[in-house]
Amino acid sequence: MRFSALKVLKEGLTGNKGWQPHWRNPEPKAEYDAVIIGGGGHGLSTAYYLAKEHGLSNIAVLEKGYLGGGNVGRNTTIVRANYYLPGNSEFYSHSLKLWEGLEQDLNYNVMHSQRGIINLFHSDGQRDAAVRRGNAMINQGDDAHLLSREEVRAKLPYLDFDNARFPIYGGLYHPRGGTARHDAVAWGYARGADQRGVDLIQNCEVTGIDVENGKVVGVQTTRGPIRAKKVGMVTAGRSSQVAQMAGMRLPIESHILQAYVTEGLKPVIDHVVTFGMSHFYISQSDKGGLVFGGDLDFYASYAARGNLPGKEQVMEAAMALMPMIGKARVLRSWGGIMDMSPDGSPIIDKTHIDGLFLNTGWCYGGFKAVPGSGFAMAHLMATGRPHASGEKLRLDRFETGRGLMDEEGTGAQHNLH
């Protein structure tokens, strides 16, 4: 089944009775060429690109819950390529290019909206940093414009420009940045993978990783053992538990990141806007809700819900930046489990076990990385060599100290990102 405007029109006129399930619900087979642990955005995109780019079709994605039920279904949906350091810069640049062709590639409306991101700055020092970051983005081939205070005012008249503590000096504008419909991204990749023969197996928790003579040979699951020549661990906040089954300790701490949505409002925030003096970012969904978030709660947690101090900090930042937001009522909030790495940057790499691959450390930034991460992970699993866009996302950088990607410049330590 292909989606098209004509199909939508036809179904609309005939009672919408012709739609079919987007993917099969197969029983697990006894053996696959490759198994992906984790049916979130990154796992599904890995399976999709393994099938599409590398011609593998005997693949399974094993998901302990339902597809897209983790962080890909609970984030602030921001898509951007405004990184600074080598490694991140080329990786997210590549990912954004994949985003730009994603809907045609998947034949699926992921509602990718390049509405532009404006990172505000509030001091001379922050302006210098924004100029430097903008130049790094341009050097990478992406887009960046420095906006003066008056140019920001023309785009975002609702901000408090003369806040006594955090006056707005200007902004770094990234027009190709924006948002996407997060669930649709998972569903689009799932459907695309399924159409190429990938078995998407839900309610199937991996309980063990079988290794013989230093080589992975399969996994144990709640639905029986499955043999596999290659296994990819793509489990975000649960990475440490999965890797432990293979005897690995990861450089990962799992933390809560909360996010918030207000009731639906008429269009009021046209871009993605970030506050430079406190960690705060906001956009408006197509449904009208203001979607916003801030910092971690800053303690290790798997609770998938946060505490009040985190909420308070975000609400205070929102009120300081755009006092009008005080009239909106928060509809709901939630917490995701973030796989925080010591330098705040991701890992896509082989492990010490032959055939076992690791994809983790996405910290706050996993959503925009979904296409690029799957592409690089699939390349690594299929060829045994890293893709150029992901070759610096190495697991050993913490041990060697070479190639650390600490965007914030605070040090490669667990409690600092």
Binding site: R238, A300, N307, P309, E399, Q413
Partner: protein, 88 residues
């Protein structure tokens, strides 16, 4: 979330700074191998369940505390001064 500081009593978690796993108390000797320092600095058990964390009562008495806590429920079972028990 509230922590009961052994010196100050029950206090709001806003008063505390979170450092991370209490394994940070087991600092390797200066001449330890790189692998050992790597393990100490970066690698974590990161369990879903009971953990022992280091917290600092920065807006209170300034004590370093070992907090036994459940990362799934946020239940705190004990808070001790780091000197009050064996490290690690």
């Amino acid at each position: 979330m509230r922590l009961t500081c052994p010196l100050c009593g029950e206090r709001d978690s806003r008063e505390f700074y979170y450092q991370g796993a209490a394994s940070m108390l087991n600092r390797p000797p200066a001449d330890a191998a790189g692998q050992e320092w790597h393990s100490y600095m970066h690698l974590r058990d990161n369990p879903a369940g009971e953990v022992r964390d280091l917290w600092y009562h920065q807006d209170g008495c300034g004590s370093w505390l070992v907090v036994s806590r459940n990362t799934v429920t946020h239940h705190i079972s004990s808070v001790d001064l780091i000197g009050a028990q064996n490290a690690g």
